[in-house]
Amino acid sequence: MESPKTTETLASPGLDPMLPRPFVLKSIEQENVDTWTLELEAVDADGDLAFEPGQFNMVYRLGVGEVPISISSDPTRPERLLHTIRSVGAVTGGLCAMKPGEILGLRGPFGNAWPVSLAHDSDLVFVAGGIGLAPLRPAIYQVLSERRRYGRVVILYGARSAGDMIFAEELETWRGRFDLDVQVTVDHATGDWFGHVGVVTTLIPRAGFDPTHTVAMVCGPEVMMRFTVRSLVDRGVASEGIYLSMERNMKCAVGFCGHCQFGPSFICKDGPVFSLPRVERWLDTREV
């Protein structure tokens, strides 16, 4: 199977890859206790940011810092640009505390895309953990925009608790569709949760897809991905059909800063989406 294609948006020489474009925060919506979705709009005349599902931007809060954030909106509707951010540090905290109308900087989009077209005519299973649903959502939108080209489409989502879910309303909407199989599980259930309890891997053995004709796209904490790919392989999904989106510290997003190396790969320019055979060896090694 071919590897995901790389979009060389910033390949043209003479363009400063470190130069952010000004964007205005159009709206901000709280997803859960520590996660917000920011809608951004370009200030300059260059217009909308075309992107592919799985790509990310370097989002810059002026004077505070810059972080890599996956685009979480619909690639078929680039006029609505969303980033879903978990507030866990100075920069993400600063971004999540912004008010509509404020200006921030954006560089991108960077990285390669989920290989959605490779899954044409086969079953497709999305496995997401926590905020890992955000980088997968553009791929889900893309698939839903051309739903007939795919076999069964399954979304398996795990969150720590019901309150930690993101896009909960959308998951409910998707679960109401006859052409989607959406299953949600939580690690810890509170009294008002009547759904499945357990880590997301427990959903894999019974999920409705044909493992011999399935492409899987996985995103979540590294430990979750490690166990998820194991469950998928145990179920019979070919390694070459399993794709993961990896995360590492990044300062530049174009291969200069060295931070995001994972074995021989730069997550920024070779990824963030990798087929399992390309990263398997390092996924199972500690402290790579």
């Binding site: 363009l15 200030v43 590492r248 200069f256 060295g258």
Partner: protein, 373 residues
């Protein structure tokens, strides 16, 4: 090949300055040979040499007046091409909060002439060229600084105690990438330089110097000197099969062993002429509300380097040394088409506890042989 007398080097520095170059070269400061601006050949380390060993660097007198009678010091040319600290951006919010303007000019860039560039350093510049210029994106800071550089290479007449450029096919003779290349000959009765031009601009500069065609004897003498330098390397590194050995050696007990000595001080990465990692820091101007983004050298030996939400990925010293060595001698090849090492020996000399990567690589090879024999 031309020959230039000792006084011809003064003429060379003058000619470079007259062509508008800021001339940088070796000079003695704080008991080390560092690179800085040269006003005349008096600034060069005349008659000085360096004695290098693992964790040790000492300057001594040679007993002659050689200008380039040393190997390499703690500085490398990346100080100018990929500076330790450089402002990437100054961002000024626009009135009324409708956006910002970004100034990405680099006031530190000059038209430099690098004098005294060793073959290993030319190889190192070539490696950084591939990192910063040949990827999907071009680094404008490196690009602007690199473009106008005039390189006066100096072939090594002697190898240092920690040198192994011959193993890395990076020296001691400069083969390409220079405008002019010098070989210094200090005989009992004569002190002269053989000069080779490597570019049209080099040819132009050379034409303006008081040089003459080299005699066959002079060429032979220079060749003999360079051959003896190649055969007197203080270290060697066997690269054959090493990337594969490193690739399957992530669980080798050797990493723990070297970690008991490694202080994780980052010295090796700071003196390395190819290490390119950097971080970006934000600085705020309280007076006018402008925000600046500064890039500074970073090192994979710090815990912050691999920080992700929740903690660092590489918390142990062994994992950080492993990252550095497997990258330098292994994965770098897959990334950029050559190892990230030129055999200059700086990381060995400037390691405060004398860790020697050639020794570590050999030990990893040995334990791999034991495991996979």
């Amino acid at each position: 090949m031309e020959t230039l007398d000792r006084s011809g080097i003064d003429a060379l520095l003058t000619a470079l300055r007259e062509r508008g170059f800021t001339v940088l070269g070796p000079t003695v400061r704080d008991r080390a040979i560092v690179y800085d601006e040269l006003r005349s050949t008096a600034d060069l380390p005349v008659g000085v040499t360096d004695e290098q060993a693992a964790g040790s660097y000492r300057l001594t007198h040679r007993g002659d007046d050689a200008l380039f009678g040393y190997t390499v010091g703690p500085h490398s040319w990346k100080r100018w091409l990929h500076p330790p600290l450089v402002r990437l951006l100054r961002i000024t919010p626009e009135e009324g909060g409708q956006g910002f303007t970004a100034d990405s000019s680099d006031p530190g860039a000059r038209r430099w002439a690098f004098v005294g560039v060793r073959a290993c350093e030319l190889a190192a510049i070539g490696i950084q060229d591939r990192v910063f210029l040949d990827g999907p994106a071009v680094d404008p800071v490196y690009d602007a600084r690199r473009r106008g550089v005039f390189v006066v290479a100096v072939n090594c007449a002697q190898a240092g105690g920690t040198c192994f450029c011959a193993s890395m096919d990076a020296g001691p003779r400069a083969r390409e990438g220079f405008d002019l290349a010098l070989t210094e000959v200090v005989d009992d009765d004569r002190h002269y330089f053989l000069v080779e031009d490597g570019s049209p601009e080099g040819r132009e500069v050379l034409a303006a110097l008081p040089s003459r065609l080299a005699t066959a004897d002079e060429v032979k003498t220079a060749d003999r000197i360079l051959e003896s330098a190649a055969s007197s390397m203080g270290r060697s590194l066997e690269m054959d099969g090493l990337p594969e050995i490193l690739g399957r050696g992530y669980d080798s007990p050797r990493w723990e062993k070297v970690a008991t000595r490694c202080l994780s001080c980052t010295n090796c990465t700071m003196v390395c002429p190819t290490c390119f990692c950097s971080t970006v820091e934000d600085v705020n101007d309280l007076a006018d509300g402008a925000a600046e983004r500064w890039r500074r050298w970073d090192s994979c030996f710090t815990t912050e380097f691999s920080y992700l939400h929740g903690g660092s990925v590489r918390t142990s010293v062994s994992s950080r040394y492993r990252q550095w060595l497997t990258h330098k001698l292994g994965t770098w090849i897959e990334q950029f088409g050559s190892p990230g090492c030129v055999g200059c020996g700086r990381c060995i000399t400037w390691c405060p506890v004398g860790i020697d990567l050639t020794e570590e690589a050999a030990a990893l090879r040995e334990s791999d042989r034991a495991l996979h024999a």
